[in-house]
């Protein structure tokens, strides 16, 4: 736990009816960072968020806030606010009163309250909507009210539980930029839960990939994408070809019946590893020039590129290329040393 850590989870265990959801999860979250918890549904990301928010008490383990143990502190005493899935706006209050809700509880005086609420509405672009009932607003607008309602209390940390899940694609893209801007303006920590890998990569400073109640990898979006630590991460983040391989020696790996040069070292001799190759990193060349060669099984036009499935020695490869090949054609494939990502085998 270094000085910069604002929230620390230590060995958090949560189970629902005996079924473990978080298995001794530990995580440090740095101040003023945009951290995303990413994973498929049921991976424990929302549970983690609820533990931080105080809506769920872990069976064991501790939650620290600025090095102070807050494990048993109820939600209303935490300097943390949440933007809920589907927003949970109060339908009996108008937009202004929804945003003012937390301040009124804190008995902030009327003048300051008004300035702060209006300022916040200004920031999320909803000035003039004060008297509207939240249910009459569009999804994107409700989203902004929910953010304003949480941020107006000046929390140290804002928790966001799949806040863009209910929006359509176009609006989601817009709001992604908006959220990032709001986070930078407010200058606080955002902990963001999503199952959308693209969303995670665009917005975050740090991505925490989770699966089955365990953290799989923590890193910057670039690291996560380029250097996945295991097959799960590689598969979940973007599309990839994952193959079993043998690490012959440093800088040399064998898979698909061919010896490849790579940039990794430090594995045991003849260690069994997984290899990840991104579909866009495979070069298509004439059959005789390729390190590998295979038969094109199918070609689908995807807009920017063609997606091809190529069968090589019983393995199906996914390849993205800007040039279409004919199904049935035999092609060659080249993979550069930089494009081969070696990972430890996952224990099952």
């Amino acid at each position: 736990m270094d000085n910069n850590t604002i929230i620390a989870l230590k060995n958090i265990v949560v189970d629902f009816d005996g079924e473990a959801v978080l298995n001794g999860l530990s995580l440090d979250i740095h101040d003023k960072e945009f951290v995303t918890l990413l994973g498929p549904s049921g991976c424990g990301k929302t549970t983690t968020l609820r533990v931080i928010g105080g809506f769920l008490e872990p069976k064991s383990g501790n939650v620290f806030f600025n090095a102070k143990d807050i494990t048993h502190l109820p939600p209303y005493k935490r300097q943390v606010n949440t933007v809920f899935q589907k927003y949970a706006l109060f339908p009996h209050l108008n937009v202004y009163e929804n945003v003012a809700f937390g301040l009124r509880l804190r008995k902030v005086d009327e003048k300051e309250l008004k300035t702060r609420v209006l300022e916040m509405l200004e920031m999320v672009g909803l000035r003039g909507f004060e008297r509207r009932n939240p249910v009459t607003l569009s999804g994107g607008q409700q989203q902004r009210v929910a953010i304003a309602r949480a941020l107006v209390n000046h929390p140290k940390v804002l928790l966001l539980d799949e806040p863009l899940g209910a929006l359509d694609l176009k609006l989601r893209k817009e709001m992604q930029g908006e959220l990032k801007r709001i986070q930078q303006n407010a200058d606080i920590t955002f902990i963001y839960v999503t199952h959308d890998q693209e969303e995670a990569l665009t917005m975050s400073d740090t991505v925490v990939v989770m699966n089955g109640g365990y953290i799989q990898q923590i890193g910057s979006p670039v690291d996560i994408y380029n250097e996945p630590e295991n097959a799960f991460v590689a598969d979940f983040i973007g599309e990839s070809n994952i193959l079993s391989a043998v690490m012959e020696r440093d800088f040399s790996v064998e898979f698909a019946g061919h010896q490849f040069t790579c940039v990794d070292k430090g594995f045991a001799k003849r260690a069994l590893v997984d290899v990840v190759v991104r579909p866009e990193d495979i070069q298509v060349v004439p059959a005789i020039q390729g390190q590998l060669s295979g038969v094109v099984k199918s070609v689908i036009f995807k807009g920017v590129h063609y997606e091809m499935i190529v069968e090589q020695a019983g393995t199906d490869w996914k390849i993205h290329s800007t040039q279409a090949q004919q199904p049935g054609q035999i092609i060659g494939m080249n993979i550069g040393p930089d494009e081969i990502h070696i990972m430890h085998k996952m224990e099952d």
Partner: protein, 268 residues
């Protein structure tokens, strides 16, 4: 299918005449000068006047209103509390409680009335106190009103987004504050409508009151004793008044509803 055939129209007219002719006849004869129920001999408001000077009717009306108000308030509070408590119980327990709560609704009213009367008689005989009257009426009315509150409030509670409650805690409410500031306002429409349902059922009830009132007379009981006397055109006047009052209330509610709908339509 939006246009109706002549046959369908005729059918509608016939059924609605069947439903409304008796009421119309009563209304017409409430203005009849003579006591005759077949010959209209001339216009008068006399029956209305004598109705308003009929002490039996007036005191019965007063009793009905008091019983209805008090029992509805208690049933609404008790029922709302029960709904919230039941909400957090396990499924099986909840099922059992709901089924028992359903009893007064599915049982014939006469059974509910008779069974409560038995209980009251046994209690009265063991404590040697004259409990029949307002106490027994109140208990009976609260009992048959409670299920309606629970069946109105419980679904609303289940529909409520539990995150709303969490959001309130998140923004700094203690659990009790969160209940009064968020949960209760959210349930309010259901609570109010159950209160209104209780009021109407309570004012309208004859059978259960008949068995539990002792010698007290609520309005329906007074009406019953008037119908026993055969000829009393005051009943016609009373029916007409009640009909007009109910008609107005329903009309107002409907007007409000359709206005709200229009407003919403404009918003969207």
């Amino acid at each position: 299918m939006k246009k109706m055939g002549a046959f369908s129209k005729l059918y509608l007219v016939l059924i609605f005449s069947f439903m409304y002719l008796p009421i119309a006849v009563m209304a017409v004869f409430s203005f009849n000068q003579s006591k005759s129920r077949t010959l209209f001999t001339g216009f008068t408001l006399g029956w209305y006047q004598s109705l308003f000077h009929n002490d039996m009717i007036l005191s019965a009306l007063g009793l009905s209103l008091v019983i209805a108000l008090v029992s509805s308030v208690i049933a609404t509070v008790l029922g709302t509390m029960a709904s919230i408590g039941i909400y957090s119980m396990r499924r099986t327990v909840r099922g059992v409680i709901m089924n028992v709560s359903y009893m007064p609704v599915i049982n014939p009213e006469i059974i509910t009335g008779v069974s409560m009367m038995l209980l009251f008689v046994v209690v009265k005989n063991s404590i040697h106190l004259q409990i029949f009257g307002i106490p027994t009426l109140l208990v009976a009315h609260i009992t048959f009103n409670l299920p309606y509150v629970i069946f109105n409030v419980s679904p609303k509670l289940r529909q409520m987004d539990i995150r709303m409650w969490e959001a309130a805690l998140d923004l700094g409410c203690t659990p009790i504050q969160a209940f009064f500031k968020v949960v209760l306002p959210e349930l309010m429409p259901a609570i109010l409508s159950s209160f209104l349902i209780c009021l109407t059922y309570s004012i309208d009830d004859f059978i259960i009151s008949y068995f539990t009132s002792g010698t007290m007379q609520t309005l329906p009981i007074a009406i019953y004793s008037m119908t026993r006397k055969k000829v009393s055109p005051e009943i016609n006047a009373l029916s007409t008044i009640l009909f007009v009052v109910i008609f107005t209330i329903i009309l107002l509610i409907n007007a409000k509803d359709s206005r709200n709908e229009k407003k919403n339509a404009v918003r969207i």
